[in-house]
């Protein structure tokens, strides 16, 4: 009960202050929250959600999944091979440092402006945190474990499946978490450039036609979406890494 109160008190207070303070707002750019909420209900009808939010989520899921698989696969290969790692590291450092949005114009050249382009934009940006974290995780595998598994003749796929992946998984998950927030950003940006539907496209459309309350409602929707996805991720993480958190708690007490 106290916990629920603590959780909700400040958000409720902030919203209430916003609501009350903006009630008589004459500012064209900051309309009253009441108007924004009304616009929210009018704008994001089930029909609109199906036409704009679902395609966005589809691209996000496809890009994120592809980036995760690619990042982990390449990361394990690079992390497990010392020579490959030495050769690849400067190149990786450089590609990671390129701000992902500047690749949007490049990818538009290669892949046109269809759904494929948006998925590639997402992959090109969020593969790096996964890849680099996997490399680090695989590199840091406990030496004794590694030698033991080698002594027992565990090599190839079994080594990856039973030693490298579990040992690196806390780091991989950290990378996946970083990649998730990047993926949302890139989804929105790719839709701001060239699209005929999607959340980013719709919000920019509202802004250009000076439909301010609708634009605000879109921003709020994006916020809710980001929050929901990160909560979802936390649930998945707790499930996936239950053994790891348990181990850490046990060794701490």
């Amino acid at each position: 009960m106290r916990r629920a109160l603590r959780l909700l008190a400040l958000p409720v207070l902030l919203v209430a202050v916003w609501y009350a303070a903006s009630l008589g707002s004459e500012n064209f750019y900051a309309p009253p929250l009441r108007t924004i909420l009304a616009a929210f209900a009018d704008t994001w009808t089930p029909q609109r959600l199906r036409a704009d939010v679902l395609p966005s989520l589809g691209r996000l899921a496809a890009g994120y999944a592809l980036a995760s698989v690619l990042g982990v696969a390449l990361g394990v290969a690079i992390g497990a091979n010392r020579r490959l790692r030495a050769a690849a590291e400067p190149v990786l450092e450089f590609f990671r440092a390129v701000p992902p949005p500047v690749l949007v114009p490049v990818i538009m050249l290669f892949a046109g402006i269809g759904d494929g382009m948006k998925v590639i934009v997402i992959v090109s940006g969020c593969v790096w945190p996964v890849l680099l974290n996997t490399v680090e995780g695989v590199r840091a595998v406990d030496g004794v474990l590694s030698d033991t598994s080698r002594a027992y003749g565990i090599t190839g796929a079994a080594r990856v499946r039973h030693l490298l992946l579990p040992a690196a998984s806390p780091q991989i998950v950290a990378g996946l978490r970083q990649a998730l927030s990047l993926a949302i950003i890139l989804m929105v940006i790719s839709e701001m450039f060239a699209a005929s539907n999607g959340l980013g496209f719709t919000i920019v459309q509202f802004q250009r036609s000076f439909a301010i309350p609708e634009m605000w409602s879109g921003i709020i929707l994006l916020g809710l979406l980001g929050f929901a996805l990160s909560e979802l991720f936390r649930l998945a993480e707790r499930h996936l890494l239950a053994w790891y958190h348990g181990l850490r708690d046990a060794s701490r007490s």
């Binding site: 958000p11 590291e89 500047v102 950003i185 701001m192 802004q207 921003i219 916020g223 980001g226």
Partner: protein
């Protein structure tokens, strides 16, 4: 070292050979990109753009770090405050900063202000969360000792809390520095605020491909420079700290 260089050389060779063999149509050979880079480096407009981007980056980062540290120490040092604000921080943090682009355009047009709004918003959370973790990491025994020696709250902040939190603060700054560059370039690219991003957009729409690639390489080099610089600063300022002292031994 030789392997490291061979990786880079391999990439350059690949980027030279693929277009020459006609395998990729829209990528100019690496030598032409480098030539375009040399051309660009001779123009004043290029350096103005770099300066604009770096100004937005540095200013935004400074504001975000200042605000993040101040708010983080305040919230972190007062347990009740921390408990009551946790849900709000967790809610605001995942809001993608690009969602603010339309708002920034309306409020500031294509000025530096709209870039700053995005950069500060994105970088602030990176610092804040790190500072919160850092403050939570204070050794209870050290804190109790300081209390029993009747250190004033300010002295405790200065001698107990701050040294503990500092490594976390630096990690936060490093993360925020990278994020700030991404958002600065993004804002310029999407909104058209002056800087490297908007020059890239112009090069792309006018079909100047080698120039576009050259500018993208420049943003990458900036990113590398920022990463290296942040690591160097971290090592320098934390040279007394265990995590840095232990490093060469590994």
């Amino acid at each position: 070292m030789i392997l490291r260089l061979s990786g880079l050389a391999g990439l350059l060779l690949l980027a030279e050979a693929l277009p020459r063999l006609g395998l990729v149509a829209d990528l100019p050979p690496a030598s032409r990109i480098l030539a375009a880079l040399a051309d660009e480096a001779g123009t004043a407009a290029f350096w103005t753009a770099v300066g604009d981007t770096l100004t937005a980056w540095a200013l935004g980062l400074a504001i975000a770090v200042g605000a993040g540290v101040a708010v983080g120490v305040l919230i972190g040092a007062v347990p009740t405050l921390r408990a009551w604000t946790a849900s709000t921080v967790e809610f605001l943090r995942p809001i993608p900063s690009v969602a603010l682009i339309p708002l920034a355009v309306l409020l500031y047009g294509t000025d530096l202000g709209s870039t700053l709004l995005l950069v500060v918003y994105a970088a602030f959370w990176q610092v804040l969360v790190q500072v919160l973790y850092g403050v939570a990491d204070v050794d209870p025994v050290a804190d109790e000792t300081a209390r029993s020696f009747r250190l004033s709250p300010w002295a405790r902040l200065r001698h107990v809390l701050w040294p503990t939190a500092l490594p976390y603060v630096f990690t936060g700054i490093r993360l925020a520095a990278a994020v700030a560059l991404v958002l600065a370039v993004t804002a310029e690219l999407v909104i058209g605020a002056p800087g490297l991003g908007s020059v890239i957009a112009v090069a792309q729409s006018s079909g100047a491909l080698p120039t576009m690639y050259a500018l993208i390489v420049v943003t990458g080099l900036l990113g590398v420079a920022i990463n290296v610089g942040a690591r160097y600063a971290e090592r320098r300022f934390l040279s007394w700290h265990q995590s840095v002292r232990a490093e060469p031994a590994r």
